[in-house]
Symmetry: C2
Subunit: 469 residues, 2 copies
């Protein structure tokens, strides 16, 4: 209910003030709460303060998860959380996705619920700080990373799994309309999720926020430095931070905004991807064992099960399925300056799990292992250029891991690589500015989750003169 109280008044449509204060926070590398160099120790301390144990188990040892009759789908007894089902993808004009094929079947995560990924913001000494949580997730290689203030599926925060309340959820469901900086549904991995999206939110408050040992207020400048560390800022935090509205201080772009949208519209129109959910039992080319469902040639990923025991999570112990990648990914933007303005080379990528055909992806996004058996011409464009890039061309590099609530040890090297001025742009690729991508993150289904990670890193690197890059 939004009652309209008289006398109603209008306000400016744009909030320019947000971008100013975000820039100030990005330029501030001394937080009031913790020094950046102490964050790593604090995360390590949080890791030790709570005894976590993640153990691979057989599917038969899963509690309340089972393989459904007939379909063979791996589901939770409540019908909630998520399920592992099958997906049949036909790309009439392919190949796209992370493989050289035009048609395939694969397991996929079906999670229709929209969760909340929310970061609380507050000014201290006139500078915006963001409340990060040192959060354990069973699939993180190092267990604890910095997450948004809140990350909760609807099942979490409506207590479907019988756990405790989600701390600080009251700032996001619903948010104070006066404090909203970011609020957008963004999709996650289109190769592993079927049309999953989460609500990415940043909400500012003036309240005295209660604090716990797992939480810490950091400036954007501090977070930018931490974005250069391996496996420190988790995927959800990277995704939310990529949506922050920054000022565009450049003089323009190679393509005007309407030209970029037109190019994107054409890419979305010209692809014909038909993705259809099928029973997990109908997924040819994959074999189901006692402890894993895996591709018969050992490519792509495995579905497996873990038992988790923790103490500071919403529930003390549980079992769940996870997806494990079979190799480290490579995710890279080629970068070049045009007329003095930095541009990145985006790829209009079609994935079977996307809601609407294509999203803008990094120049390279793949797991090289999946192509190892193939001739060179079947390798993704620019992969070798990225793998062979000399150190002098690497503008940004860090290893990040993907969502630790669904993925086990899924890591990728994220890179920004200086391109040659003579780079030939193939169909489906375009040079755009980070500011243009940032503007598109205000809306869903434009910038994919891997590109959002790189965007957050590039924006951080740009806004942060003391960064390592």
């Amino acid at each position: 209910m939004l009652p309209l109280l008289a006398p109603a008044t209008v306000r400016p449509r744009a909030d320019r003030d947000h971008a100013d204060r975000i820039a100030r926070s990005a330029a501030t590398t001394d937080g009031v709460h913790m020094r950046t160099e102490d964050v790593r120790a604090w995360i390590a301390e949080r890791r030790e303060a709570n005894v976590f144990h993640v153990e691979r188990i057989s599917f038969a040892d899963l509690d309340q998860w089972w393989f459904e009759d007939v379909t063979g789908n791996l589901v939770h007894s409540s019908g909630r959380f998520f399920a592992i089902e099958g997906l049949h993808v036909v790309e009439a004009d392919g190949p796209h996705g992370d493989g050289p094929y035009r048609e395939w079947r694969q397991p996929v995560i079906k999670q229709p619920e929209v969760g909340i990924l929310g970061i609380l913001a507050k000014e201290f000494d006139g500078v915006l700080h963001f409340l990060m949580q040192a959060k354990m997730e069973p699939g993180n290689p190092n267990l604890v990373q910095l997450s948004p203030t809140v990350q909760a599926t609807r099942s979490n925060y409506t207590k479907a799994h019988g756990g405790t309340n989600v701390k600080l959820i009251e700032y996001f469901a619903p948010p104070d309309p006066e404090g909203i900086i970011v609020d957008v549904l963004q999709a996650e991995q289109g190769s592993w999720f079927f049309r999953k999206s989460n609500r990415n939110m940043i909400v500012e408050t003036v309240d005295d926020v209660p604090m716990w040992d797992d939480f810490c207020w950091l400036t954007l400048g501090q977070i930018a430095e931490l974005m250069h560390e391996d496996e420190t800022i988790n995927m959800n935090a990277r995704s939310v931070l990529s949506c922050l509205p920054y000022h565009d201080r450049a003089s323009g772009a190679l393509l005007s905004d309407i030209q970029l949208l037109s190019w994107f519209t054409n890419e979305r129109s010209r692809h014909d991807v038909r993705a259809r959910r099928i029973p997990l039992t109908d997924v040819d080319g994959w074999k189901q064992g006692v402890e894993a469902i895996e591709h018969e040639d050992g490519r792509y990923f495995k579905v497996l099960a873990v038992a988790v025991k923790g103490s500071n999570r919403e529930k003390i112990s549980w079992t769940q399925p996870l997806l494990e990648s079979v190799g480290t990914g490579v995710v890279a933007f080629l970068v070049r300056e045009i007329d003095g303005v930095p541009h990145v080379l985006v790829h209009a990528r079609a994935d079977g799990g996307f809601l609407d055909t294509v999203e803008l992806a990094p120049t390279v996004q793949c797991t090289p292992h999946n192509y190892a058996h193939l001739p060179p011409e079947s390798r993704p464009p620019f992969l070798d250029l990225v793998l062979d890039a000399p150190r002098s061309r690497i503008r940004y590099e860090a290893v990040h891991s993907e969502e630790g609530g669904r993925f086990l040890n899924v890591r990728a090297r994220y890179l920004a690589i200086d391109a040659d001025d003579t780079t030939v742009v193939p169909p489906g690729y375009a040079w755009v500015t980070p500011a243009q991508l940032t503007a598109l993150t205000r809306h869903g289904h434009y910038v994919n989750v891997e590109a959002r990670t790189l965007l957050a890193c590039i924006n951080a690197a740009t806004a942060q003169p003391q960064g390592k890059a």
Copy 2:
């Protein structure tokens, strides 16, 4: 292929010039090509110059269309164009859609191809004119209405049906990047189509464009006047015109843009609509006859078949299925000024055929006949207020018909009604400015096709002091 030719240069991201020239065209009510008062006679003349005949036939007399074995879906032998299938909709938190039910089955049009709806623009005497076509479509009550320059399914313009070339398609596939004013995928009726969208385009040229008797250059001021005539500007033209970028000359809005987006994100998150395609034979509650598939209580719509004979269409004669509504629709925005700025009351509407849960719809959008058997409390909010509005409160009124290539005699009264200052805003509704809606039409899946029609009409009425409203 977008080869990057050295030396590459950047350009401004926004093209402010477009909005200026659009405003000038909207203020110009004398076109260089035809006087507005002569357009009606010209359309009538085009109607008579080409002998069209549309006749209802039995399904058995359809040529190359048949009911598929097993599914009973009504399909074309080529596998292209469109198909009539079944849809099963469950709205966990419903009811939504054009009826008071939380779960139902219905026939639906499945048309996976993305077509092009393109209007060519050109300056004459320094004023933008738009090339409109007097086009026959079998479902139009008056057969010929003004359509975009080009409206073509992919099957049309790739000649899947063996017809002639689509005139002027070369201006849109692909468009000249320097001439793009609008290029966006917009969805169509979510109650009758399953996730259909078309590419809405406006492209400017400086060429000497070849002319035919069915085409006419008109200014926006002229089109605005014609938008006040019943059944003159077709749905596709209204949709494309709604996406024109206008300047926002207002001082703001009740909600800032980010507040509006946040409200919309919440609406999209809180709805849980599961829509699943099913075989047409599984659609309970509908009966299939020799000449029609209809609801057993005579509500909603009918599927039927027609034979068309024409002479200026891409093909001389053909047969096809059409959907016929069982009553005239009512589509209305409540309008009020807040702080002197006009606002419309939008409804975040969930339809089974939407790609992503909800789109912004008019305050009222329904076929009253579908509610005639129900108690008053089951009628849609604001319907009676709209139906009972005194003439003095009607700011805009015209009868428009929906897409004549798929719908037979589907008409609605489109209205803008002055609201009372005391109007209570129920959950799922919000006051927004036409300028905010116009900004959202730059992206797909925000503003539904009925709201786009009203937006085009309101923008036209506002920009057009000589209008009848």
